[in-house]
């Protein structure tokens, strides 16, 4: 506990310090390439024949996903706290790559815990992390996936609390992480707000984002929560379908529980043992969801739906062919849901979807599913 209390204290102080925000803004602009464009997807809009679709292009960030926004914030905080060693967990490898990148930038030793199963599935990202100078430690315990990587990172942290900072990749974990990661990702929604104001002179009607732990969705949604006319939809990974039990949809197919220091919806059995998540997209493969999403679900402020592997694969190909954007499988879930709702609304209905990652990392998995040998 004292370790998370120290993070909470340091983060509260950093938030009050304009110098901290200025430093973060500097790196977001010059290193990450923010603001990311808000792009009117004309061909997809025409294809769906309804809503006007904008894509928030967070896949154009350095390292190819939204993860870097949060990692830079936490790494700067770690420096401020005088921590000399960074640890992280990763599932698909995107958060691990982002953390390894920030550690290279700031000359900090970096240890990334990754499930042995995921290491096998995500070899290119493992190699990237190593190129960036990080040590990737395979986790064999439990089911050897993302939740086990998080367990192992927590075990490391309690044993090395003096010099180590744990960079958590999503809006989950013990307080203050869910709030802190949300704040660092809110740059997505804040930019969207200003960019759409400029393009359309008004607020969006609907926001759509995919959800594993839920950090990119929270980043897009949070700055709009107090605008009652903005509808929001979080898209969970439905895997083979909720009814099959093989999915990663904690809200649609989970129950309340406590894991990794937060109470939220979890995939679990009747005895409270955590069940493995399944998704074609390793980045959505977490058996929980950020606690603030659980709360927004109970309030009814955000609608949560799920999309199957098959639907995501179709959307993956659609975006590639119609917009020249190869999306990550994660936002392909969001696009698959856009495909369902866009045709049902009028042409002046504005949808913003967060294109939170690019698909280079997924081409092997997709080729495999399409029966293509690379």
């Amino acid at each position: 506990m004292p370790l998370v209390l120290a993070v909470e204290e340091a983060y509260a102080a950093a938030r009050r310090d304009q110098g901290f925000q200025a430093e973060l803004d500097y790196y977001l602009e010059h290193y990450v390439g923010r603001p990311s464009p808000l792009y009117f997807a004309e061909r997809l809009t025409r294809h769906f024949g309804g809503a006007k679709l904008y894509l928030k292009r967070d896949e154009l960030n350095h390292t190819g996903a939204h993860k870097i926004n949060n990692v830079l914030g936490q790494t700067l905080l770690a420096r401020r706290m005088g921590k000399r060693r960074i640890i992280a967990e990763t599932g698909a490898g995107q958060h691990g790559v982002a953390t390894a990148t920030a550690c290279a930038l700031f000359d900090l030793p970096c240890v990334v815990y990754m499930g042995a199963t995921d290491i096998e599935r995500q070899k290119p990202n493992v190699f990237r992390m190593k190129l960036l100078g990080a040590e990737v430690i395979p986790v064999h315990s439990g089911t050897a996936t993302l939740k086990d990587a998080m367990n192992e990172a927590l075990r490391d942290w309690v044993a090395h609390v003096e010099d180590t900072f744990y960079v958590i990749g999503t809006v989950a974990g013990p307080h203050p992480y869910p709030a802190m990661v949300r704040d660092f990702q809110s740059v997505i929604g804040e930019e969207t707000r200003a960019q759409l104001e400029k393009a359309e002179g008004r607020l969006p009607d609907t926001l759509v984002a995919c959800i594993g732990g839920g950090s990119n969705a929270m980043g897009l949604f949070h700055p709009f929560l107090d605008d009652p006319d903005v509808a929001m939809i979080g898209v969970e990974a439905g895997g083979h379908g909720i009814e099959t039990g093989l999915h990663a949809a904690s809200l649609s197919g989970g129950e309340p529980g406590v894991l990794h220091g937060n109470r939220t919806y979890l995939l679990q059995d009747a005895d409270g043992q955590i069940r493995d998540a399944h998704s074609i997209s390793a980045g959505l493969d977490y058996p929980g969801i950020g606690p603030e999403h659980a709360w927004l679900n109970e309030l009814g402020r955000v609608q949560y739906v799920s999309i199957t592997d098959r639907e995501a694969l179709e959307a993956f190909q659609l975006a590639s062919r119609l917009e020249g954007i190869i999306p990550a499988l994660e936002p392909a879930h969001a696009l698959a849901h856009v495909a369902k709702i866009a045709p049902t609304v009028p042409r002046d209905h504005l949808i913003v979807m967060n294109m939170c990652g690019r698909g280079d990392k997924d081409i092997f998995a997709v080729a495999d599913h399409l029966g293509v040998r690379l």
Partner: protein
């Protein structure tokens, strides 16, 4: 007086510290596990700690992680752990039994129902590793109502600012985690354990048990000189694991092998003269 209180009073009267043994419920299989637990008191365990298996044991090292996985594969559940305690109580109504584990299975079972059923089964206390004092009222309130002790954990990083909130609603005893880390890894040196126990006693009159990193009878004896009890877990679970066939079934000598270790640890603890506290 609760069984835990009675036991510590008796230990104090005998001028010695106690031995607390940890094993995971249902490891390597429910039947072997039940017979093993049934032999602990006669082998010299003064308190019996029973691990409730959990899929994601964040505070445990590989040895206890694997024990939990073996038990879960054998179909162990919280309900069956309580049934195990009920069975043990049929033969031994004196040795305190403390359950140790993680909150989600208890939360899923229902904290109030858990407190009630645990006491009815003969459980005396519960240690929940991932429930900090700030968040544990939903368990401590029904537990205290049911007269189930909630044993709180203190660690080397629990400073003077924090200790008062840790001991505030604690009961039974305080479990001092001797190292910053997970089970079955490093060991603390005797001097730092003694200093920590002295510091804890400034904040609480509850007995102090020390665990994490105690493997040998000698280490147990050293801890017994400073604390009210020494907890040994990973080394016993490791002994169990060394007596498994490749398919994780028990070899014939498994129970004897573990109980022989318990006897040696008990001899170590009993031979240690208590420092006056």
């Amino acid at each position: 007086m609760s069984r835990i209180e009675q036991r510590f009073v008796a230990l104090r009267a005998a001028g010695r510290a106690g031995l607390v043994t940890y094993l995971t419920a249902g490891d390597p299989d429910p039947d072997t596990s039940a017979r093993l637990f049934a032999g602990l008191a006669a082998a010299g365990a003064d308190l019996i700690e029973i691990g409730m298996p959990f899929s994601d044991p964040m505070a445990d090292g590989p040895v206890i992680q694997e024990a939990g996985q073996r038990a879960l594969k054998q179909g162990m559940t919280l309900r069956r752990t309580l049934a195990l305690v009920r069975e043990l109580r049929g033969a031994d109504d004196a040795t305190p039994i403390v359950l140790m584990g993680y909150y989600n299975p208890i939360y899923r079972y229902g904290a109030e129902r858990f407190a009630h059923d645990a006491v009815a089964a003969g459980v005396d206390g519960v240690i929940v590793v991932d429930l900090p004092p700030e968040e544990d009222a939903e368990l401590t309130a029904p537990a205290h109502a049911a007269r189930l002790d909630v044993v709180r954990l203190a660690t080397p990083t629990s400073d003077d600012r924090r200790l008062p909130s840790i001991v505030a609603h604690a009961s039974g005893f305080i479990y001092y985690v001797a190292i910053a880390g997970i089970t079955g890894t490093r060991s603390a040196d005797a001097a730092s354990v003694a200093a920590a126990v002295t510091r804890l006693r400034r904040f609480t009159d509850l007995p102090v048990a020390v665990g994490f990193g105690i493997r040998t009878p000698e280490q147990a004896a050293e801890v017994a000189r400073a604390a009210d009890a020494a907890v040994v877990g990973s080394s016993l679970v490791q002994r169990l694991a060394l007596n498994l066939n490749p398919d994780n079934t028990a070899k014939p000598g498994l129970i004897d092998a573990v109980l022989t270790d318990v006897r040696a640890l008990a001899a170590g603890v009993r031979g240690a003269r208590r420092n006056p506290s």
